[in-house]
Amino acid sequence: MSLVELTDLRYAWPRQRPCLEIGHFALAAGETVFLHGPSGSGKSTLLALIAGVNVAGTGQVRVLGEDLARLSPSGRDRFRVDHIGIVFQQFNLLPYLSVLENVLLPCRFSALRRQRAQAEGGRPEAAARRLLAGLDLAPELWERPASRLSVGQQQRVALARALIGRPALILADEPTSALDAARQRAFLELLTEECKRAGAGLLFVSHDLRLAERFGRVEDLTRLNRAQAEAACAA
């Protein structure tokens, strides 16, 4: 069973032409995939479909064998927090929460993630601290408001939040675009390694092919996507 499997997927934003048509795409458990595509090629839309935030008009999106369209809206919301960790381009953190509280967010909304975090030893906080330490964030930062951190630090906190409670799938939407070249490399290294260690599958979308070398597989969205409506997919 694939971790993610898309079949005959077709999606259009309301009152627009279809911007996404994918015959077949699969991501195996633990696999790291770099999905390349220029802006407007439907990367974010695809991630939103896999995350169950939006639902495909036709075709199937299966995650862990579950057909997301068959779940209720609130069922999809629960499924997302239970099984998927998401890292955005930037502004990943709630500015009014501390670093630690940001990392613990999924545990507050998902019993499953909390249980898995606890299973790693003690309280979810312990798991969060371990993750933050592993991502090289100094302990004196942990209680600080997230808004006080540098962009690079924020992205690492976001990664810790995505990883806590061992979700099966990590979705990353250009998470390095706000970083300089040296930090991009370091962040990618952390990302791929942590996913490997956690046994999580990783779908990384970016327009920047130079980042692709660390991934198990590289896919080109412009080739996958048969809908070639120019800029129909909003960034």
Binding site: T45, A48, A51, N54, R78, L93, L105, P106, R161, A235
Partner: protein, 422 residues
């Protein structure tokens, strides 16, 4: 429902993060609630105070003028009489077979802003207020002779007087009224609190009023004439005129017959007023002012709620990232709607509670002063029905209005998915 408490905590933290702007709008709503509650409190308590002021009096008789004016000066010591009535007329009313008692009232003098009332000593036995309650002495006794005064409790407390103290009365009202300094009065009694204009009245006998005016004419001492206090007893101290007469009848059934008798009194034009009827006129008059005050404060409350909603709505665009993050950790659009609704309703509720507390604090702060100078006693009690209604209305309108930003957040989080199109 797991995540609900997490959501509540997040709503609070998020709002706290924007505490400056939200705090300012909260203050606006809170003050408007205070305004509404205070005006409502004043309205109801003023009515109660006015209704309590006189009881058991069947008719108020005065010179022919507006019934309302007569009520205001005879009962509430507000304003003055343009004309007095002759002593002979007062005596004729007293002699009428239907009449149980009369209380001639002589008004016009004052003591440091408090009105002076000249009336026979039987006033302390006959007069009733509230629910037919008699006057009670907190200290001392009724006056028996000249130059003796009985104080209402507010006068005694405000000015720090006790039985045995000496005071001088001023001719007319106001700060610069000339004083009857040559004939000081001794405080012989202090009345217990009534919650009516009695509390801020200085009571003396009719003869005392007459005595201090022996050597006066036209509002000033007659030059060269000075009658020492002890000599005043040599004069006939029966008053020539009084300001008004309170009348108690043997039977209430005779009230209209008696009223007609007074109206038809030949020797001079008189007027008899039923206190209840005059009070109704007073309400009608006050109702206009009350209604406009309430309308204005309701509008103020409305405006402040519009401000609150506008502030939440304006902040929404900056919070689209926040909403996307919440969605990524499993908060559905309905949760987002609920979050925003919670924020608006929570702020309105906080404003209502703070406004209520502030209005109570206001009663504590202003109440004693208002009681002393206007006779209106503000009650420091749990809100009454009308106040609850206003509180409920503000909360309901605030919560309903919060649906606007909540609905917009719902739409945004649906349209944005995981990536805000900012």
């Amino acid at each position: 429902m797991r995540g609900l408490s997490a959501l509540l905590a997040l709503a609070f933290r998020s709002a706290w993060n924007r505490r400056l702007t939200l705090g300012l709008t909260l203050t606006a709503v809170c003050l408007s609630v205070t305004l509404l509650l205070s005006i409502e409190r004043l309205r109801v308590d003023a009515r109660t105070s006015f209704t309590q002021a006189v009881s058991g009096t069947d008719l108020i008789v005065g010179a022919r003028a507006s019934p309302l004016q007569l009520l205001l000066y005879a009962v509430f010591r507000v304003g003055g009489a343009t004309q007095e009535i002759g002593w002979e007329a007062a005596a004729a009313i007293d002699r009428h077979p239907a009449v149980a008692w009369t209380l001639p009232l002589a008004l016009g003098d004052s003591h440091r802003g408090f009105p002076v009332l000249g009336t026979p000593a039987r006033y302390f036995e006959v007069f009733r207020y509230g629910d037919r309650q008699p006057l009670v002495f907190a200290a001392g006794r009724p006056y028996a002779g000249l130059y003796e005064a009985v104080l209402g409790v507010e006068v005694a407390e405000r000015l720090g007087y006790q039985v045995g103290d000496r005071i001088t009365l001023a001719h007319g009202g106001g700060e610069f009224a000339p004083e009857h300094a040559d004939k000081p009065f001794t405080v012989v009694g202090v009345l217990a609190r009534t919650g009516t204009p009695v509390d801020r009245t200085v009571h003396v006998s009719l003869e005392s009023i007459e005595a201090i005016h022996l050597d006066w004419q036209g509002g000033a001492p007659i030059p060269g004439l000075n009658i020492p206090p002890e000599l005043a007893t040599k004069f006939d101290l029966t008053p020539k005129t009084v300001t008004a007469v309170l009348v108690g009848l043997k039977s209430r059934a005779q009230v209209f017959a008696m009223q007609r008798w007074v109206q038809d009194y030949r020797a001079e034009p008189l007027m008899a007023v039923l206190p209840g009827v005059a009070l109704d006129q007073l309400w009608d008059l006050l109702a206009i002012g009350e209604r406009s005050l309430l309308t204005i404060s309701a509008l103020v409350a409305g405006v402040s709620l519009v401000g609150l909603v506008a502030v939440i709505l304006a902040g929404l665009n900056e919070r689209r990232r926040e909403l996307a993050i919440l969605r990524s950790v499993g908060a559905g659009p309905r949760r987002v709607l609920f979050l925003l609704l919670l924020e608006g309703a929570g702020l309105t509720l906080a404003a209502c509670v703070l406004g209520l507390l502030l209005s109570l604090a206001l009663v504590l702060a202003v109440g004693p002063w208002l009681a002393a100078y206007s006779g209106i006693h503000l009650q420091l009690t749990w809100p009454h029905a009308a106040q609850w209604a206003w509180l409920g209305a503000v909360f309901a309108v605030g919560t309903l209005a919060s649906l606007i930003p909540a609905w917009r957040a719902y739409r945004l989080s649906l349209a944005d998915g995981l990536t805000p199109h900012v």
